[in-house]
């Protein structure tokens, strides 16, 4: 408790949480859609390689595509059906990207492959467990969809001292994790224990929950009794579930910019991921479905649904009584960080924790922004202690140097500043655009640099060739000179690739 006092989150806001709409709805199975759209790369990394072809009949849990590379993950059939196409399809992404997808016609029989897990995971080698987690396609379900097995192999030598299971769910409206914790507390705790085992038993293994979810806390405490797993409650405040903020709340440590949590001995895993790990290890099941909150005032039956991966959002909307005429926009994710989609055919993927269909009264069209009056409200609520008013100023004047000086890239796009802004300025929008601009420029510079390198290399190669010919013609060559020219650019190339990778 005392600890909590000192580790208080600075900044942050208290938006109306609106969780009551869906929090009391037990998880129910969403009827299957006719067609599932399975992106072959629903995580960072290269797309997976299909191992089935159009026309193949597949069973639930069957492997459809194999991973290609370290950050790639396999894709499994969520249920039985027939592969009907491989095509590009819109995927959930803020900029409406399309990506190669596998289209599965669902037969409705839900025949699944027999799967086997490990009864006593502590008797199994860690590598075997990691392989299983990877084989089941478990990825971080909170944000970027980073493969969980890769995350569990710490890259620095530092041992993980604190494992945090993130059950904060601080975004308004979303209750998927809340329901999972209430209804599957045992699975969460077992999942946490598996993770703890994989990380060589960190000193602390904490399931962190916001204090607006007392039922979840009670169930978890019951499930965790007698184990090493702690259940800790933290005051409700947005964005305390954000990774850096959560680490500070639990450990008191501020993650330095540019460092990974593992560098300071901490690892954070999401609730859905933890349950995914439990299912993979104990039941041997791949991620076929996830719990998604469907809510908002344009939804007649808001609640928490177990949804097959690849289910089109439109299907969820139809099944929950979505009223088009009332709806003001469609959001994937929560109201603070979620993004709008303009095509309801996008599929549910591993990271889709919420489909939000607010009414016009709920989320009216954004007001016209007024001038920034430098009131500083934005800075007072910024959990990263940035100065959004300065960033806004420099974003508008496109002063990239100042933007970086004011730590634009520390902005976690939590939206607190824009929420609090007196003049209703869409600050995050400016910050995102500015980040994009800076990245583009850096890429251009990099491209220019590598083009230059390529050119130099070509010149060097030509010269080397010429030298060789000269050498053949002349009996007394000067090989070391030619060698010098040849190796120099090569060295540079090697070192640049190194810096890019590290």
């Amino acid at each position: 408790m005392l600890n909590n006092l000192f580790n208080r989150l600075r900044g942050g806001i208290h938006p109306p949480d609106q969780k009551q709409m869906s929090a009391e709805q037990p998880i129910t199975l969403m009827p299957f859609a006719d067609r599932l759209i399975l992106p072959l790369s629903q995580h960072i990394g290269t797309p997976a390689h299909p191992v089935v072809k159009v026309g193949d009949k597949v069973l639930g849990g069957q492997l459809l595509a194999e991973p290609d590379g370290h950050f790639s993950l396999p894709v499994h059939a969520p249920t039985s059906g027939v592969v009907i196409a491989f095509e590009d399809h819109r995927v959930p992404h803020p900029s409406n990207l399309t990506a190669p997808c596998l289209i599965l016609a669902v037969d409705g029989d839900h025949l699944t492959l027999e799967q086997e897990g490990f009864d006593n995971f502590e008797q199994v080698s860690k590598q075997e467990l990691l392989n299983k987690i990877r084989g089941c396609g478990i990825a971080g379900m909170g944000g970027a969809g980073f493969p969980t097995d890769a995350k569990l192999k710490p890259r620095s030598n530092k041992a993980i001292e604190t494992l945090i299971i993130n059950g904060m769910e601080c975004e308004p409206y979303i209750t998927a994790d809340d329901r999972l914790m209430r209804e599957h507390a045992d699975d969460v705790v077992t999942g946490a224990r598996i993770l703890a085992y994989l990380l060589d038993y960190p000193k602390r293994c904490v399931i962190a929950v916001e204090d607006n979810k007392p039922e979840a806390v009670a169930m978890l405490r019951l499930a965790a009794a007698g184990s090493q797993v702690e259940v800790a409650e933290f005051p409700t405040k947005y964005p305390s579930g954000s990774e850096k903020q959560l680490i500070q709340l639990v450990t008191g440590k501020k993650l330095p910019t540019g460092k990974l949590p593992s560098d300071i001995g901490v690892m954070v895993q999401n609730i859905t991921t933890t349950v995914g790990v439990y299912r993979a290890i104990i039941q041997g099941k791949p991620m076929g479905a996830r719990v998604t909150t469907v809510t908002g005032k344009a939804i007649a039956r808001p609640g928490n649904y177990k949804v097959l991966m690849g289910t089109p959002v439109a299907h969820l909307l139809k099944e929950t009584g979505y009223d088009e005429s009332k709806s003001s926009r469609l959001i994937l994710g929560g109201p603070m960080m979620g993004f709008t989609i303009t095509d309801a055919q996008v599929p549910i993927i591993k990271t889709s924790n919420c489909v939000l269909a607010p009414s016009l009264e709920e989320f009216p069209d954004p007001p016209v922004p007024q001038a920034c009056i430098r009131c500083g409200k934005c800075a007072q609520v910024c959990p990263m202690q940035l100065l959004p008013q300065q960033l806004y100023w420099y974003a508008r004047s496109r002063d990239q140097e100042k933007l970086q000086r004011y730590h634009l890239f520390d902005c976690i796009e939590c939206g607190s500043c824009a929420y609090a802004c007196t003049s209703n300025i869409p600050l995050v929008h400016y910050f995102r655009a500015a980040k994009g601009d800076i990245r583009t420029r850096q890429q251009q510079q990099q491209a220019a640099a590598s083009a230059k390198l390529r050119h130099e290399k070509r010149v060097a190669r030509k010269e080397a060739l010429q030298a060789e010919r000269d050498a053949k013609r002349k009996p007394r060559p000067k090989p070391d000179q030619a060698m010098d020219k040849n190796t120099e650019p090569g060295k540079i190339i090697a070192s640049t690739t190194e810096t890019i990778e590290s």
Partner: protein, 352 residues
Amino acid sequence: MTLINISSPHVASDGDAGSMMRLVLLATLPGLLMLTYWFGWGSLINIIWAVLLALVFETLSLLLRGRPVGFYLKDYSAVLTGVLLGLALPPLAPWWVTLVGVGFAIIIAKHFFGGLGHNPFNPAMVGYVVLLISFPVEMTSWVAPRDLVDGQPALLSFSESFFQIFPVLTQPLVDGYTMATALDLFKQHQGDLIHQSVGVRAAFGYFGAAGWEWVNLGYLVGGLFLLYRRVFTWHAPLGMLGALLLLSLIFHGLLNIDSIGSPLFHWFSGATMLGAFFIITDPVTSATSLKGRLLYGIAIGSLIFVIRSWGNYPDAVAFSVLLMNFAAPFLDYYTQPRSFGQAAIYARKEKD
């Protein structure tokens, strides 16, 4: 289907710049009430006149700059500038004084710099200082507070006040209604034991300056209300009042220099509370970081004390504020908070 693309966050807190300014306007009421009670109708008439002028000048400026008039009028910033200047003017200041002041405030101090949010100087204070320099007589003729001296004529009626300000049909009334304020006396009698000077005592009230103490109390009440509603943070007001308190304690209390007022006198005379809660809390022209605001307040409080005690002008809020408006960007630069996970900027720069 109404599928539109909107950037997150999708929710926002209630209110906008206009509602904030309206709260500030509301909070000036206790002070205005006291002004009217102690000094007559003049301030009210001035304020209405100033607001009208402010709206006209704002509209003209916006039209000239090609901006949507209705949208910008809704931020109430022009109204607030008018009210603040009106509050600061002597109650019977002639109409053209207000006209010049508001004109300067809105056209020069605000729109020449690019409108709300871009003005480095507090418009109302710019207007005030221009007037003080240009029309010192009009600007220092304050009405005597009511019932101060036995046998003094009662305060002017509403219509008398009106025609004093707008002498259209009649000649202005003879003088005799105005007198030096406590702060003026304070200046004129420097070195004397002013509290004992005959005929001067009357200008001093129970704890501050006569009448003024109540006006200041009114602003204090309004200011605390704004603080409670979180319109601004406590940093700047506390800095300013704290600096005044500390300096007057040292010079008046500790060093026993009688020509320097007591802490209470400094707090409850002149424009102290108006400045502390309504002027230096103007977000646009003050520092924006919390530490910066504290320093900003402290600097203004100290300047006020110094000018009041040793300078040439009786009150000093306007000058001090303008001086510090100038310094605010520097304060911000050097008080940039350390962001999460970063070393302080200047510390890092030193290392570079």
